[in-house]
Symmetry: C2
Subunit: 300 residues, 2 copies
């Protein structure tokens, strides 16, 4: 019924806030295991300034490693986040297959994150997306803070729809709505994705939820109710800042797959492989992580 | 749109597995605070053998306390669980307003829990429900393990529908489906509650989910999609056995209310009061509990 696509963003969104730098060999091991488990797309990192985000400094190496012949299953797509033109050049140089990029629907978040307002950032992202598409690469554009912003609070739906409209006009149809702050509730998720469908029935919607307030899986289900089958999630529910009261991790990959499999979907994915990755990640960071199923095991 | 009813089962289902006995004064404080916060129904305990479940030994005292004139807001209903005829007598003696009782849809769970098979237990429960109704009291009947069983695995939907049919035949319309093991997934929740509606459009459905595999709030949303607005939940997500790998707590009351309020429902409930209860419960047990919002605070 639903075509489900799993985009593992743990190596990027899951790790970028972690203070302890993960050695390249661990990243390779976790990414490899995710590919072997049956994940469709893996976001290995982001092409940002290594001085600013040391955790992402090895993104070029990771891409180069997995793009060597025979180093990944052919069906698996390697993605990376790019923030600017320099990132696009780096991604091209190491042959990454899919470029992810986006703008925030919150003016404040956009300025804090990129130094640009929404309008300027959007123009720039659209230009980048066109370059990437022209080069024959896959591109996914996102709207960050699509369901609310930690700085601004509520984000008007109209603003999200306007940004998506601009993406569609530019000929980019793979669009992700990211709930950066974890403010989404399932009713609004259904409503907003339904509105996107109305804009263009060829739009390929992805959803990217954070579990800050425990609503991640409820929001994933709501997205499915609106016809969305493309999920971005992170192993062990990693993500967000571990040093604040608000442990705003991503939706946990293995918990999501567990739910999907008990909804009779994606039985091809090896859940046990995924829980083993989560357990290994937990051992690496020497703490309990937010995922549930790697602790409890699956429903028997 | 939705009429929402909140039934706090923390003092019963939340506490019954806790080894450390909670003094009467703490229970009174937590229950009082829940009533003040705007909870509609509070399940104060169960009329079971105090030797077998010492944590529930003060249920009669709690009922008697809150049924004194002026000790609770008039709109709040006091409920308790009864397992047998003796429990009904005790409930009548201390004037409890609502009697909750049920049978399991799993033969194994039924026998382990009551020493009776489903059929015998059902006959007995229906007879008890009629006695309670005849005495002018409210009654709610439930189907436990309605979405799967830790012993038997999958539970056929047909069996749940059959039990509900028997309840309806007997003239009992307040029916709760309890996911005792936490096996429910949102698709099946929608399907099963929709099927119940088809049996009788006057049925008053309640849902009772456990968060064992992280699916509690997703299941609550799915129940809402099927027209259910009556939720049973426990403060701080308490419940289940804390000494196993599977921390199968109830859906957390304050997390549920938080979700509902961000869906523009039940703004009358004082969320901050509820998070204060959860924080106090956490201090009492000297451990972090499963609720999220008592730690993070609400979405700003």
């Amino acid at each position: 019924m639903h075509k489900i696509i799993l985009h593992e963003v743990g190596p990027r969104d899951g790790l970028q806030m972690e203070k302890e730098t993960v050695p390249l060999e661990f990243k390779i091991k976790w990414i490899q295991a995710g590919m072997d488990a049956g994940i469709d797309i893996v976001q290995v990192g982001s092409f940002v300034n290594p001085q600013k985000v040391p955790q992402m400094a090895d993104t070029d190496k990771l891409c180069a490693h997995f793009m060597q012949p025979g180093m990944k299953p052919k069906a698996v797509i390697l993605s990376a986040l790019v923030l600017n033109e320099k990132g696009v050049d780096r991604g091209m140089a190491c042959n990454v297959e899919m470029f992810c990029m986006g703008v925030s629907a919150s003016e404040t978040h956009s300025r804090k994150n990129t130094g640009m307002g929404i309008s300027e950032a959007l123009t720039r992202i659209i230009a980048m997306a066109k370059v990437v598409q022209a080069a024959g690469k896959k591109v996914q554009v996102s709207v960050q803070s699509a369901f609310g912003c930690g700085y601004e609070g509520a984000v008007p739906e109209g603003r999200v729809i306007e940004i998506v409209g601009r993406y569609l006009e530019a000929g980019v149809r793979a669009i992700s709505l990211a709930d950066t702050a974890g403010h989404a509730t399932p009713d609004r998720v259904e409503k907003l994705f339904a509105a996107l469908r109305q804009l263009d029935d060829q739009v390929e919607c992805a959803c990217h939820f954070h579990n800050t307030y425990g609503l991640g899986l409820a929001n994933c289900y709501a997205a499915m109710r609106a016809g969305v089958g493309y999920f971005e999630s992170a192993f062990a529910g990693l993500g967000g800042c571990p040093f604040t009261a608000v442990a705003g991790g991503n939706v946990c990959t293995e918990d999501l797959v567990h739910m999907l499999q008990h909804m009779n979907l994606r039985h091809d994915v090896k859940l046990e492989e995924l829980t083993r990755i989560a357990a290994d990640v937990s051992r690496f960071f020497k703490r309990e992580l937010l995922g549930v199923v790697y602790n409890t095991g699956a429903i028997p």
